[in-house]
Symmetry: C2
Subunit: 317 residues, 2 copies
């Protein structure tokens, strides 16, 4: 069970109390004052946000937008939404918070279309895997008095669609906030409280820093997984063990979604490929020179660094 | 539950009967006539073979060799062995089957050392991840009348040591047999029955073909996983999600073990790195030229091929 710590009145003044989950969820909900949240795009992420909100923020209306009626019906049936709309203006009208959960390639168009229908004081955030483009577009396109805060909740899987949605999808995963000098501090605080309510661990990066680091830890691994699958001869298909299937799991993701991510972040992805090539070139030299000690050290370093990553992740939980 | 099919006498002549596990294990055991199996190297794989044999071939003596007393004690305690020896000649004497489970780099030395102590008719096999070197060494070093059969059971994990051994480690995994024109047909049949008893699915390849394909599906993915870990900046450690940790899981493996595998198969690994580079170069061109359709097709092809691999694996079970 996870606790949240807060000051409470004690007999000798305020004391720090650990609040059990139901209590701190109520505290976070109250802090945010969200009466109406609009989810634009009800797939795996949007649907999971809906399920989590309806469980953890009972007083709040959860509204969904989708361009396919069948998806909206499925989302309503699964209990992810209170209201569903095929009409974007109707879906975002009067929302306190709009969460953009559509593919990266559609975000600018959606922002442009919803912009005239947003109320003063509305906060808009997103779940996009690349951040420079969307943050720039939002700061340009949204009217004054509407606050944009970029977020990247690092949850999801190679599965798509609301039928895989789960209220606990975001639990203990990292959410990267990408504020700029134009970001409203109070809006940032509310969006951070929102992701915390969904169970996430928060960190902050500039949009540029986000895109550079994500190219290394996420976009490049995807590209490499796809390349590893692509290069196999058919006769090798029967020899693919658990190791190979683990390495290439993310290559099972949606091609259209990843096309947009890679194109949006192409400069960083190209730089990451170059750096991977340098690493592989280093290894080629060790193999060509038959240097067992240096080769072993190279492999050991990788193994130890990965162990550090695991420990960092576990200590953060 | 898994069945094994065999001809049995029926009222109108022989019929095919599905034998339940206990029955077909008895049939396989009888076919092999193994009274004494010697496991040289009692780590994760050797220990798991011992546990499985003592469960599935009750009449057979399972003997283990190791150079560390502590490992042998642990193997005896876990129930993987009937007898343990720190002395190699004593461990292999009178064995019907010797299974080499030591790291690839030690196999030639062990063969040379055990060779004078093997009985006529003894079968020797191994579990090495590369096959050209060990098959050549065994065919040169073993005396006439001792039969070598190369095998590569594709089971294991990044964990090491007999304490992780499990009787079901080999269940449903693929075992690649690498016979040559010098391989004794009856010895090959017995070793195949042996791996089948442990639950494995069998396939055959020449040692050269094995090493070429394994460089692609196993050794290169390991190298790439290590390179992906190696290139990360420390600030990115906190951003490593489930996807990254899956892709790089195999990089957690033992450096010394992988050093030997990569050096033994260096020509093929170098060729595999070249082919991966070509795939990545293809992608760079697509990104540089901003070609969304071709890029999406490239990603989709990878996703579909991986799906085919999964289906092949599942249909083989």
């Amino acid at each position: 069970m996870r606790y949240f710590y807060a000051f409470e009145a004690g007999p000798d003044g305020p004391v720090v109390r650990a609040l059990p989950p139901r209590r701190w969820q109520t505290v976070l909900s109250a802090l945010m004052q969200l009466r109406r949240v609009s989810i634009v795009g009800v797939g795996l992420l949007g649907g999971s946000i809906g399920l989590a909100l309806r469980e953890r923020m009972p007083g709040c209306q959860v509204v969904g937008y989708g361009h396919r009626a069948s998806t909206l019906i499925e989302a309503m049936r699964s209990g992810a939404l209170d209201e569903a709309h095929e009409d974007l203006p109707a879906a975002v009208r009067d929302a306190d918070l709009v969460v953009l959960c559509a593919p990266v390639g559609l975000l600018a168009t959606l922002l442009r279309e919803m912009s005239p229908h947003l109320s003063q004081g509305t906060i808009v955030t997103d779940v996009g895997s690349t951040k420079r483009g969307i943050v720039r577009a939002a700061e340009e396109l949204l009217p004054a008095g509407v606050h944009f805060v970029g977020s990247h909740p690092m949850a999801g899987s190679e599965k798509r669609g609301v039928r895989f949605a789960r209220a606990d999808l975001f639990d203990r995963a990292v959410c990267i906030m990408t504020p700029t000098d134009q970001t409203d501090a109070s809006a940032l605080g509310k969006v951070e409280a929102f992701w915390k309510l969904l169970g996430m661990r928060l960190t902050r990066l500039s949009p540029a820093e986000h895109d550079r680091l994500l190219a290394d830890v996420s976009h490049l691994p995807h590209v490499v997984a796809a390349a590893l699958v692509g290069m196999q001869e058919e006769v090798a298909f029967d020899l693919c063990g658990k190791g190979f299937l683990d390495v290439t799991r993310i290559a099972g993701g949606d091609g259209g979604l990843w096309r947009d991510i890679l194109l949006d972040n192409r400069d960083n992805v190209l730089a990451s490929i170059k750096r991977l090539n340098e690493q592989l070139r280093e290894l080629e030299v060790l193999l060509e020179a038959r240097q067992p000690e240096t080769l072993e050290a190279w492999l050991r370093t990788a193994s130890e660094r990965r162990q550090q990553m695991l420990e960092r992740r576990d200590s953060g939980e």
